[in-house]
Amino acid sequence: MSNISRDEVAHLAKLARMAVTPEELDTFAGQLDQILDAVAEVGEVAGDDIPPTSHAVPLTNVFRTDEVRPGLSQDAALAGAPAAEEGRFRVPRILGEQQ
């Protein structure tokens, strides 16, 4: 049985930049528990001889040659931007942190 706490849901919501009400925290905590339990059941079916996989097709080493391909013009790149300035995407002030 997995058990995801209300605090963990609140933390995840913060990381995902989602505004979640206190009622929703209770609801999601319960729902996420059910989802994790369902996934855990699948894990039980797989034997030790079945490695975890992240991909359904058995392919490796799919590479591209290092050749320039045409991309977008500046206008096309910015066409869908809610705001642009000086050929750049304009975004709201970035608060309190710097990568």
Binding site: L15, A16, R17, S54, H55, V57, L59, T60, N61, V62, F63, R64, T65, D66, E67, V68, R69, P70, G71, L72, S73, Q74, A77, L78, E85, E86, G87, R88, F89, R90, V91, P92, R93, I94, G96, E97, Q98, Q99
Partner: protein, 502 residues
């Protein structure tokens, strides 16, 4: 923003604490295209002109791995004596920040392509320190932010930010050391020497421009202190924005003195990112670090795993060049150089140029002398790098050969070199155009000698009387008459012959 942190005197720091370093170096590969799309990978350009749906993170766009970037990653791993993963995947590192339009960075997490290596680093006094490498993994660079409003483009007080994604998706290799402990007072020097060695190595491999000033080589320095005799590492800080080799050393040293003052005062170090301030050599607090858990890494579903075959890895292993410091050692032995002579060569950036000049037929002492002295001065005067001077090693070798055969004096040779540097052609063309050949025709010289002797009969008498050293005055007159284009030794011989003193 200036900080007025309390600092401890450095001597006291190393007396009371042992520093532990961890260095993370990001290297932008110099591939033609980005890591996951065919957009050009080049520095600069008008904003948002090297972009496409993949690197802009548009819905439905799918990445495809750049094969050359994977090759470079494996080669770097091999040069750092790493094991190469037989099978590894990319992972998504999730975070919200406008420098990554996808809202995740495609990176590698628990399956780096290269791991468990080491790099032997030579310090200034010749001591060799082995730095253990934890891993080298592949990822992509972020876009560039421009903060508008507030003072001087800084993030504090900015009203909004402008994003250019030309750099987003440029192939990056992140090289992470294991903790470097036990270096004591030399820790800052070791940090600089490590990044220097790594830069030299990557340059010799031709996988990156390794320009710290342009950000194609970046170093984050993790520093912590532990009290002497303690067994557990202290809390670390990670200093970013370290943009030169000298800054690496300064940043580590500064953090050591800052940590020590906090710890000695009974305080504790906050685990955080700090930003190095080039102007005054201090660091300022940045964001509190997210933990790895907060990035919610998971295997990238849009890319298939990479499984380098043994043959491929062996093939790449054969392309690893001689390590720069081994090459320097070999050159020092071959040419029988003192440590100081080698240092001059290395510091002026002349090693490759001298080697190429020697390959073109010059004696190494002559080649060294030209590059380290006259040409180095010329580079300084012209405010350029030695390697960027408009003269080739072959041309320098030609000038040296002409001096050797007596066709040029040293003085004339310098004029020839000046001509080449000024774009007047190769050495032979400059000699022809400027009429710089040594007057080696004895009859022409004899005429000048006779004239000089006739002009100074008293000196001629002195020489005849056995005062051979008086010939110097006549040599000077002849050199003046021939505008310095005569071989002084030959002139002297002719004078002595003429007065019958030979």
């Amino acid at each position: 923003m200036t900080t007025t942190a309390e600092l401890m005197d450095y001597a006291e720091v190393v007396e009371r604490y042992d520093p532990v370093l961890g260095l993370e170096v990001h290297v932008e590969l110099s591939t033609k295209t980005k890591m996951f799309c065919g957009c050009p990978n080049s520095f600069g350009g008008d904003p948002n002109t090297h972009v496409c749906p993949v690197c802009l993170g548009m819905p439905g766009a799918l990445p495809v791995v750049n094969g050359t970037a994977v090759e470079s990653a494996i080669r770097i791993g091999l040069a750092l004596n790493c094991d190469i993963a037989q099978w590894c995947r990319f992972a998504r590192k999730n975070y919200f920040y406008p420098d990554m339009p996808k809202n995740f960075q495609t990176s590698q997490y628990d399956e780096p392509i290269a791991f468990d290596g080491h790099l032997d680093v030579v310090l200034d006094d010749g001591e060799v320190v082995r730095v253990d490498i934890e891993r080298a993994h592949m990822e992509e660079d972020t876009g560039k932010s421009l903060h508008v409003g507030g003072a001087t483009g800084r993030i504090h007080g900015a009203e909004h930010s402008l994003l250019d994604y030309n750099r987003a998706g440029v192939p990056l290799i992140e090289i992470v050391t294991k903790p470097i402990a036990g270096m004591g007072e030399r820790a800052p020097e070791v940090a600089r020497a490590y990044v220097t060695a790594l830069r030299d190595l990557l340059r010799a491999m031709d996988v990156s421009d390794v320009r710290m000033d342009q950000g194609s080589l970046r170093c984050d320095a993790n520093v912590s202190l532990m009290a002497k005799g303690a067994n557990e590492f202290g809390t670390r800080t990670e200093t970013k924005n370290v943009n030169s080799l000298r800054s690496v050393e300064r940043a580590v040293r500064y953090e050591m003195t800052r940590h020590a003052a906090v710890l000695a005062d009974g305080g504790s170090i906050k685990q955080e990112t700090r930003h190095f301030q080039e102007a005054d050599g201090t660091t300022a607090a940045g964001r509190t670090k997210e933990t790895a858990e907060d990035y919610r890494y998971f295997p990238e579903p849009d890319l298939v795993p990479i499984a380098p075959t043994r043959e491929w890895v062996d093939q790449l292993r054969a392309t690893i060049p001689e390590m720069p410091w081994q090459r320097r050692k070999r050159i020092q032995d071959d040419w029988n150089l003192t440590d100081e002579e080698l240092r001059d060569l290395v510091n002026t950036g002349a090693v490759d140029l001298v080697a190429a000049t020697v390959d073109a037929g010059a004696a190494q002492a002559d080649a060294r002398s030209w590059w380290v002295q006259y040409l180095n001065q010329a580079a300084t005067a012209r405010e350029t790098e030695l390697a960027d001077l408009a003269i080739t090693p072959a041309e320098v070798a030609r000038v040296i050969a002409l001096v050797g055969s007596g066709e040029l004096t040293h003085k004339l040779a310098r004029q020839v070199v000046d001509g080449v540097l000024d774009g007047e052609g190769d050495p032979d063309q400059v000699i022809e155009a400027r009429g710089l050949k040594v007057v080696s025709d004895d009859s022409a010289l004899l005429a000048a000698v006779d004239e000089a002797l006739a002009a100074q009969p008293d000196v001629a008498d002195k020489i005849r009387g056995g005062k051979v050293q008086a010939a110097g005055a006549i040599v000077g007159a002849v050199m003046k008459a021939t505008k310095g284009q005569a071989d002084a030794a030959r002139v002297r011989e002719l004078i002595l012959e003429r007065v019958g003193a030979a």
